[in-house]
């Protein structure tokens, strides 16, 4: 089936540094999402993105977070500066239409902030 790719699979950085997580969504999908999962806890919605704009973001999407998809390439999540509590697995997802309901998820990027 359709695949969402995420790069890198693991990232270890020092607190205060910037990190960019990359997502290669399904090629004809139009809606993009980031979710955050702390070990042992449920996955939580961060943000969704359509037509070059953020449609909705949760309270977890702090001011230090930003998303973009320049020129239809990777859909990225940037955290600048990072904090210890940003350590988690970040999942990217994409969907074809807003009411298609099915979101396709990538394998996740495990971010460790030291």
């Amino acid at each position: 089936g359709p695949k969402v790719l995420q790069i890198p699979s693991h990232q270890i950085i020092d607190m205060g540094q910037m990190v960019t997580l990359n997502c290669d969504p399904v090629s004809n999908h139009l809606y993009f999402y980031w979710y955050k999962q702390i070990l042992g806890q449920q996955m939580e919605f961060l943000v969704n993105f359509y037509n070059g704009k953020v449609m909705e973001k949760s309270k977890l999407f702090k001011d230090q977070f930003s998303v973009e998809r320049p020129d239809g390439s990777y859909f990225t999540l940037k955290i600048q500066p990072t904090a210890l509590e940003d350590s988690a697995v970040y999942f990217c997802a994409s969907s074809l239409r807003d009411n298609s309901y099915e979101q396709y998820f990538g394998p996740g990027t495990r971010l460790t902030v030291l």
């Binding site: 969402v4 809606y31 999402y33 979710y35 806890q41 449920q42 996955m43 939580e44 919605f45 969704n48 449609m55 909705e56 949760s58 999942f91 997802a93 969907s95 239409r97 807003d98 009411n99 298609s100 309901y101 099915e102 979101q103 396709y104 998820f105 990538g106 394998p107 996740g108």
Partner: protein, 111 residues
């Protein structure tokens, strides 16, 4: 705010047994998604049931939805070892823009 929650966090069964996982949610949803997540992978949708459906089947999977009690269940018939995974329910009150996941049920199927 909306949330989804499994009532059990870990289940261990023998191959060939049937199993049911439950999910309850607090606020209105247009659809309940059931995802499975294998180790090291992202969630994959396995069955989706809409608010106007009471039951949905897909192979050995059966999902139910009771909007009056705000609960859903996922049943697997004759479980196989390859059904070992974490299963999540997710609710969707925003027409597909955002999913709210439960905490998940870790299912282990022993041979």
């Amino acid at each position: 705010s909306q949330w989804g929650e499994e009532n059990l966090q870990a289940l261990s069964i023998q191959e060939g047994e049937d199993v049911t996982m439950n999910c309850s949610y607090k606020t209105y949803t247009t659809v309940v998604h059931w995802y499975r997540q294998d180790s090291g992978r992202g969630p994959a949708l396995i069955i989706l049931i809409r608010s106007n459906e009471r039951e949905k089947r897909s192979g050995r999977l059966r999902a139910t939805l009771d909007t009056s009690s705000q609960s859903s269940s996922l049943s697997i018939t004759a479980a196989q070892c390859e059904d070992t995974a974490v299963y999540f329910c997710a609710t969707d009150a925003s027409m597909g823009y955002k999913l709210t996941f439960g905490t998940g049920t870790s299912l282990l199927v022993d041979p």
